[in-house]
């Protein structure tokens, strides 16, 4: 993140080739190939059940794959030993759909959990760093001492994002970050994602349904369907596709509204 890469020679941080993932006989992803470049905000869209979340969970190793390869930072995830895997896991952060904050810990303790595990810092520095991250995601410092059950939906998302950023990852995976937020809250969250992406030089892999987010902050959109990537490109390219679902998704009244607002 300290060395910005010019657009022309973009580094591929995640490379998925011919991936197949499924449950039982049914394959959710079948022959899916995808590249994620350093420093971009990638939006992944698709109808419900087209395997967006499954793709994300497979990349981070929560689901086993049936076929294909996944390279992260140029390393084949399949042939890594425990330590090498851990080293890679330190370099990404994940925001789960429901936040997945540990309910028995305060927000600050949630953030400090990975820090304690991986960093050697004094107690006061840990507090300082956690408080800083909490403020970075737009929460007040006193939110750090609250428990997840005392937070509103939007605050939970922000706190979970702060935890995902605890170790200054290079990639963050966001699973429907704006779902369940009101439009203004969703817009604020998009703005926050864009700001943090710039300040921390993040690569963002965002699974979303939110046309506004796709339009305002995503550099590139990948549409999934039939187990594969149907189309990829910017909003303009999406609107020019011929696939029926994509056509209705990106050219429907909601899309026009979103594009009209954004541009």
């Amino acid at each position: 993140m300290q060395h910005p890469v010019p657009k022309a020679e973009r580094e591929t941080v995640i490379e998925v080739r011919d991936l197949a993932v499924g449950f039982g006989d049914r394959l959710v992803n079948d022959g899916l190939s995808l590249d994620v470049y350093r420093g971009e905000i990638l939006g992944v869209v698709g109808a419900s059940g087209t395997g967006k979340s499954v793709l994300m969970r497979t990349i981070v190793g929560l689901l086993p794959k049936k076929r294909g390869t996944i390279h992260v930072f140029g390393q084949d995830m399949e042939h890594l030993n425990e330590r090498e895997r851990q080293a890679i896991e330190r370099r990404w952060g994940i925001l789960f759909q429901q936040g997945a904050l540990f309910s028995s810990l305060t927000v600050k303790q949630n953030l400090q959990m990975p820090m304690r595990e991986y960093l050697d810092l004094s107690e006061s520095m840990l507090d300082d760093l956690a408080t800083m991250k909490i403020e970075m995601v737009g929460l007040k410092a006193d939110a750090g001492d609250k428990y997840p059950s005392e937070l509103s939906g939007g605050m939970i998302k922000r706190a979970a994002l702060a935890r995902a950023l605890a170790l200054d990852p290079e990639i963050v995976f966001l699973d429907e970050p704006t779902s369940g937020l009101d439009p203004i809250g969703a817009g604020d969250f998009d703005e926050l994602t864009a700001t943090l992406q710039k300040t921390l030089g993040l690569t963002v892999f965002m699974v979303t349904h939110d046309l506004d987010s796709l339009n305002t902050i995503c550099d590139r959109i990948v549409a999934l369907g039939e187990g594969k990537v149907l189309a990829s490109g910017d909003m303009q390219a999406m609107q020019n596709t011929t696939h029926p679902w994509l056509k209705s998704y990106f050219s429907g009244p909601r899309a026009h509204l979103a594009v009209g607002k954004g541009r």
């Binding site: 993140m1 028995s104 810092l121 004094s122 300082d128 800083m132 921390l200």
Partner: protein, 383 residues
């Protein structure tokens, strides 16, 4: 395979080199100012705070990496030095580094106060515990009232009774508990028979084991063992089930549909317990006496004929009834405590665990207390 990966840390250690020339202090920072080198950065911050002078210029040219921790340390350093009246300037920053530093907002560092334990704290804890106990008692009585009212409503309108739920719970609490309760009673009956035979032998009255076993198992043991097992097995299940429903707002959902959680969830469960307990107690009595009889036969040489004749002489109908009368009361106590604790669960997973533990511990304690009260009552009325 290669194993020996060259350690990149050594030459990238963060460093701050300070030179002073004509009132100007120049701090040249170099290396990786990242989380990886947390302790070293803290050490730099501690020593850097003492820098004095009119101007401090921090030069970034040699820096090879800067993350949020590095930025935080630099911001804290600037804050500390500025307090002494020194002006601080950063030079040689890249655009990204400037952006990162500008995003760091410093809130006052919290000062932790160390808590000391003293006598007043202990007294306060004791007081709180007693007040909590009193509150539990009042809650219990008011909850019992709520359950009774719900019972009454169901009784008046039998169509509201949830038959399917009741049968389902009866299977879970009653039928599925039979093997473990029968086994435990069988074993305990055997152990008691063995001890009794061993002691009675010295008087040459081993056959009296039947009297001892019959009265002990029917009056006390069967119902106590069953109640303790049910408190552990079904009480905890009720608490966990209601608690997780509370956590996922399912109970609120019921209320908004105009359904009373008391009627829908709690009445069928408590009723199932009240029906299951006497049946299980009866099975436990049989298993206990059977186990004791077997041990008396093989270990004490008391033949089944003698054992059964003595048993018939020793126990009367009221011996059996004492255990049976207690069973539904125990079931009510367990069901009430489990339901109260389940409804007391708050949002966190930890709270669910705490309430489930509390449910089992309180239920077992209350079962034994109630058994003691019954013993006094039956003795008083000579039953």
């Amino acid at each position: 395979m290669s194993g020996a990966v060259p350690d990149p840390d050594v030459d990238k250690r963060p460093n701050a080199h300070i030179t002073t020339a004509s009132g100007q202090t120049l701090m040249t920072v170099s290396g990786d100012w990242t989380m990886h080198h947390g302790r070293m950065l803290e050490a730099i911050l501690a020593s850097g705070k003492s820098v004095t002078g009119v101007n401090l210029s921090i030069d970034f040219v040699g820096i090879t990496g800067l993350d949020t921790l590095g930025a935080l340390v630099l911001a804290r350093l600037r804050e500390a030095v500025q307090k002494t009246g020194t002006t601080v300037t950063f030079t040689g920053m890249s655009q990204e580094q400037e952006l990162l530093l500008s995003e760091i907002s410093l809130s006052p560092q919290a000062v932790k106060s160390h808590k000391t334990i003293n006598l007043i704290d202990i007294l306060e804890d004791v007081g709180r515990a007693m007040a909590g106990f009193g509150r539990d008692l009042i809650n219990g009585v008011s909850f019992l009232g709520g359950v009774m009212a719900a019972f009454g409503r169901v009784m008046l309108r039998p169509r509201m009774f949830r038959g399917a739920a009741f049968v389902q719970q009866l299977e879970a609490f009653g039928f599925r508990s039979v093997p473990i309760i029968a086994l435990i009673s069988f074993l305990v009956g055997g152990i008691i028979a063995q001890q009794s035979v061993f002691q009675l032998r010295t008087f040459g009255t081993a056959a009296f084991v039947a009297d001892l076993l019959g009265i002990l198992v029917l009056r006390e043991l069967a119902v106590l063992l069953t109640a303790i097992m049910i408190a552990g097995r079904s009480g905890s299940a009720i608490t966990a089930e209601l608690g997780s429903m509370k956590m996922r707002e399912e109970i609120d959902a019921l209320r908004t549909m105009g359904l009373d959680p008391m009627e829908v969830l709690i009445v069928p469960r408590i009723l199932a317990l009240i029906v299951a307990m006497p049946i299980l107690t009866f099975i436990a009595s049989l298993a206990g006496i059977f186990g004791g009889g077997l041990v008396a036969w093989f270990y004490g040489d008391v033949s089944p004929d003698v054992f059964l004749t003595r048993l018939q002489g020793a126990i009367k109908f009221n011996t059996f009834m004492v255990g049976m009368i207690k069973a539904p009361v125990m079931a009510l106590v367990i069901g009430l405590i489990a339901s109260i604790e389940g409804m007391a669960v708050k949002g966190s997973a930890e709270s669910l665990g705490r309430q489930t533990t509390a449910s089992v511990v309180k239920a077992i304690f209350m079962v034994i207390v109630v058994d003691g009260l019954f013993a006094m009552f039956f003795a008083a009325i000579n039953y």
